[in-house]
Assembly symmetry: none
Homo-oligomer: 220 residues x 4
């Protein structure tokens, strides 16, 4: 999964929408991402963004009606992208075919999402900070998430439970435990100790083993 799977390509193609953008517009977005992620949305000023983008103050509003629209244009797409790998049409088929073991599945997810986080670090940070303050964002995310991901993820979990690979906890609990561990890993890696030079491979391995062990019955 470190290579983009065919079934994902369609989804991902939606994202490369930097096409119709003016050169100036791209600079605006880049500047906005940088400043929003440093100071937060409410703490940033459009004039500062314009300055960093090397653009007149008015130019921003030629492309985005309001400051908030600029934010959403940055943050909304990331939600879809974030979720994309899980939004597969027929999940269990995928599972059967490609991930015979939970371990391979987990490793694929972690590696893939880590690349994603590395690439979109700043935007993800903005997303995390702003989602509590913008109802539309939150609702859109919740809807997308529960529609596209939740049931499919539950299916996958039950699939591995049925196969006896993991224990029979409630699916939401299982999911919470997995996501907590992965997100905790990513946050530590990119936010808390971005400069610490650690052995990424080894940490990933520990993390995967922790999840697998955690979800496996201890033999008495």
């Amino acid at each position: 999964m470190s290579q983009v799977e065919p079934w994902l390509q369609e989804l991902l193609r939606l994202n490369d929408e930097e096409e119709k953008m003016t050169e100036k517009q791209i600079k605006i977005v880049q500047a906005a991402v940088e400043i929003f992620s440093q100071k937060g949305f409410a703490g940033s000023s459009t004039s500062e963004i314009a300055q960093k983008a090397g653009v007149a103050e008015g130019t921003i509003f030629r492309h985005y009606k309001t400051k908030k629209e600029l934010l959403l244009s940055i943050v909304a797409p990331i939600m879809t992208k974030l979720i994309a790998p899980f939004a597969v049409k027929d999940f269990t088929k995928v599972l059967d075919a490609e991930y015979p073991s939970m371990e391979q599945y987990l490793r694929a997810i972690i590696v893939n999402r880590m690349e994603f986080a590395r690439k979109h670090f700043a935007v993800l940070k903005i997303f995390l900070h702003e989602i509590p303050f913008h109802t539309e964002l939150r609702e859109q995310f919740q809807e997308t998430f529960s529609k596209l991901v939740l049931e499919k993820a539950y299916k996958a979990i039950r699939h591995f439970q049925a196969e006896g690979q993991i224990i029979e906890l409630p699916a939401p609990t299982t999911m919470r435990l997995i996501i907590s561990t992965i997100v905790g890993f990513l946050i530590t890696r990119f936010l808390l100790a971005p400069n610490a030079d650690w052995d990424e491979e080894v940490e990933i391995e520990h993390t995967i083993q922790f999840i697998l062990n955690g979800l496996t019955l201890r033999k008495a």
Copy 2:
């Protein structure tokens, strides 16, 4: 540990410093907590706080030189409180005496910190949101954390490793995995699905077992 241990009382007593506060000052702090946690620091206005507190806007600045000082007066103490249970002078003694098994230890921590999170939910939320934007906060937290908690926690981890209760991962990795799981639990409980009525006891139990299993060697 759901009861406050004697060795904690001193530490905790530092916190009930709402003494010298005017009635109005208390109202200001309450209003500020509510509004900051809803809209974020930069998105809140002092006039709104004053209004909600039923106080003239000038009154805020009689007690706090700046809006930011108001924020810090709210958020700084929570850092110490958050860490308090781990800032024990002689940790291993405590461990020997009171927590023969890692399981008991984990349960104590989770229950205790859950009560704490329940009580200080709003302030914790503010803390989490603002810490990336305020260097002083971040540095103070890092210092306090590494001084008071880190080494002691590592000691505890090594203690349980020596006893053969958990496997020999690097202490920082072990710690990351434990904290991720606990924080993930608390965030799910209080932030993501605060209204979902789930069986807290059972979820705690699952969480503890997940951590313990995760850190225990699978018997081949």
Copy 3:
């Protein structure tokens, strides 16, 4: 005249009105003088004055209804004091009796007013700065000045002109030239170069000779 003349004593006695003042009130006035002279009236805050005086904010307003009243209580008396030496009831008699020559008269005035300026430097500075901005002050000063000083000074000038000691310029012109020179001397001494160590005696002598020469006919 470096000693206080008998006819002045009455006038001067009006000034030592620090009698009925509370200890705190005195401290307030001292603090106000210091701060007003450093930052100007409009640039000073009553709270700063209270702080420097070691007094509660409200205490100032127990003694002075408004900030401006505090200013006037400081500045108004200095006007009288400043003018006092010239406000003699029967001036020409004084002149005949005590100052046979213009030179002696000038020297007396300069020495005496220099001591005055040295003592009341800060208050005089406040007075000079504030007089353009406070109509009452300006009017009161103009009235006092023209009533008590102007005619008497003109009389003295004409007296010395009649005696042939100085040339027959218009009295206002003569007065302007004398006052300009003296005030210029005092401002240089106390404001522009207060730290320069110069020979005061010699400078006074030069100044007097300049005025006298300036008002004497050059012999062809």
Copy 4:
């Protein structure tokens, strides 16, 4: 010197820098000059300035970052202009060539600076009032003055002393006496009795004669 000398033109040309200014910006400066000179800097409010300029308050801060910057933009240039006529590269040559007698020199200076004071009355008033409260202003003025004027003025004084036109007082003393008289003249004319209709020509003549007499040896 009532006509602008050629060597001055360059210096003076620096001043007509109202070029790049918006129409509104010019109105702001005009309003600010008027209000500052009436109420002093600290006693004026930006809202009042905006109102008198017929401009939104925000517009002031688009052109000047702070209220103080507005003050300095008004007051700083006047310092150079005030001094300009004395900041000539080779002063004694000028003296030799154009002012054979001290009298002509004095008359030229007085007339020229009187026109200047008449034209820039309000700004000069602001300058005089504010210089004690703004360290930067004071230091900049002292530096400019001592660099550009002092030595040259001393040279001129010694030039006239060497020619026997004036007596051998120390140059600083001589300068103090001359400036006191001239400044006293200007202040009387424009500040103390601006409405009194006096014969300016005659007063100038008296003032010049006073200075000349004052600095000339009385023949015994």
